[in-house]
């Protein structure tokens, strides 16, 4: 078994490990690095629960080999610690935006990424951004509410949704 040495920034801290090339980033994060907020559902890019931020942009960790993270920066929900992240967590709780919580880490990461770049985001933009994250419990509306309430519009809706 040949392994490849890789090093990357995980939630701002340098990590290095030796991996088989066929190890998925999702499995590396969960089984080798203890980042169990990275969930695994479909392993074909559809459900979105494995979403991480790669150099600040959302990516499916089940569709990346761990070797592809070499030299990059990876953020998991464990690494979301700024004031916006705190607000998102509180808002999810207030709005009942989770039930089982399986989809929640990836929802938080995606919402965080959207709101950092677009604090003015309207509801249609929030829906578009989160459309790649499936939730089996909430029916989505509470998640949209939780994220909308943190925008500059404060959930007052936007043009395309009356």
């Amino acid at each position: 078994m040949t392994t490849v040495d890789i090093a990357f920034l995980l939630n701002g801290r340098p990590v290095s490990l030796s991996v088989e090339p066929r190890l998925l980033l999702s499995d590396a994060l969960r089984h080798h690095l203890g980042m169990t907020s990275t969930h695994v559902g479909c392993e074909q890019g559809v459900c979105g629960v494995c979403t991480i931020l790669l150099d600040g942009a959302p990516a499916r960790s089940c569709l990346m080999l761990a070797v592809m993270a070499d030299g990059r920066s990876v953020t998991t929900a464990e690494g979301l610690s700024d004031p916006l992240a705190e607000q998102l967590r509180d808002s999810f709780q207030e709005h009942h935006a989770l039930q089982c919580g399986f989809c929640t880490p990836a929802m938080l990461l995606t919402a965080h990424c959207l709101l950092s770049a677009h604090p003015e985001a309207g509801e249609s933009q929030i829906r578009e951004a989160l459309s790649g994250n499936l939730c089996r419990c909430t029916g989505y509306q509470f998640i949209i509410d939780a994220v909308s309430s943190l925008t500059e519009r404060g959930g007052e809706g936007d043009a395309s949704h009356g």
């Binding site: 392993e43 890019g45 990516a59 569709l63 070797v67 592809m68």
Partner: protein, 277 residues
């Protein structure tokens, strides 16, 4: 551990990638991995070797070559880059609309234009867009570079005109005049489309390029007529049944509807185009 064993190799140059690829018929290039890795997770694909091209800067340009009126898109430019690039907004904003209809944000931030073209899924947007745009593919091979027009690049169901050891380097898209329109029908946002159409309109000439609908690749029809784009859904349904040899009624309705919607958009886009000049 889901994918089967393979050798992993990071290419440092195009030449190196092409050499490796040519030396092993079971080797595959790895771009964004958004089609290849799911296939490997299910072991539908079991390449002997993956040649990672993500480090190749030569595959990443996104530039307007204005003397020639060409938008040059490197094979590794990601869908989301197209969707958000100010350059694309300025010179070919229609391309951003098409990019946004591909998958979800997280898919678009990894998946590449070149990967989509080489994967050649008949329901994918880029192959049809490139045919409609009259684009040319620039391809590196073991001996030399060559150019392949978009309308012969996708040669069949998930098949391309790429020969053994050949890789796509960039795509050259002419910045031509006229209006653009695009419409697709998908069961859920972000899913591959059931079918869709790209329309181009310039003066009396309307060209519709369809994708999806169990076609083996993009299918095109051109109509010359004065006046509005108002050919209507039935006109395009007929055209689709003649030109594409589709006989499923439901699919024909979708194809007709998409073409009609795309043509209406292209007509108003063409109007806007001329106001600006």
């Amino acid at each position: 551990m889901k994918p089967a064993h393979f050798e992993y190799f990071r290419a440092a140059t195009i030449g190196e990638a092409v050499d490796k690829l040519g030396g092993d018929p079971e080797a595959r290039l790895l771009a964004g991995g958004q089609s290849l890795i799911p296939a490997m997770n299910f072991r539908v694909a079991r390449p002997s070797q993956l040649i990672d091209i993500n480090g190749l800067e030569e595959l990443k340009p996104l530039v307007a070559r204005l003397p020639e009126n060409i938008l040059e898109v490197g094979a590794l430019v990601r869908h989301q880059q197209i969707a958000t690039s100010p350059l694309v907004q300025r010179y070919l904003p229609f391309m951003a609309t098409v990019a946004l209809s591909i998958g979800h944000w997280a898919i678009r931030s990894r998946g590449s234009v070149g990967g989509s073209l080489c994967h050649a899924d008949p329901a994918a947007e880029w192959p049809a867009f490139m045919v409609a745009a009259g684009a040319e593919m620039v391809v590196a091979g073991p001996q030399k570079y060559r150019r392949i027009p978009a309308d012969t690049f996708c040669s069949g169901f998930m098949e391309t005109a790429l020969g053994p050891g050949e890789m796509l380097v960039k795509i050259e898209i002419p910045l031509a005049q006229g209006g653009w329109g695009f419409w697709e029908v998908a069961r859920r946002p972000g899913d591959f489309a059931l079918a869709g159409a790209v329309c181009r309109r310039h003066h009396s000439r309307t060209t519709v390029t369809w994708f999806g609908a169990d076609l083996s690749g993009p299918g095109t029809v051109t109509v010359e007529s004065e006046g509005g784009a108002g050919h209507g859904t039935h006109f395009w349904e007929d055209a689709a049944s003649r030109v594409l040899a589709v006989d499923d009624d439901y699919m024909l309705q979708i194809l007709g509807y998409c073409a009609d919607q795309a043509c209406r958009q292209a007509q108003s886009d063409e109007g806007r185009d001329y106001d600006n000049r």
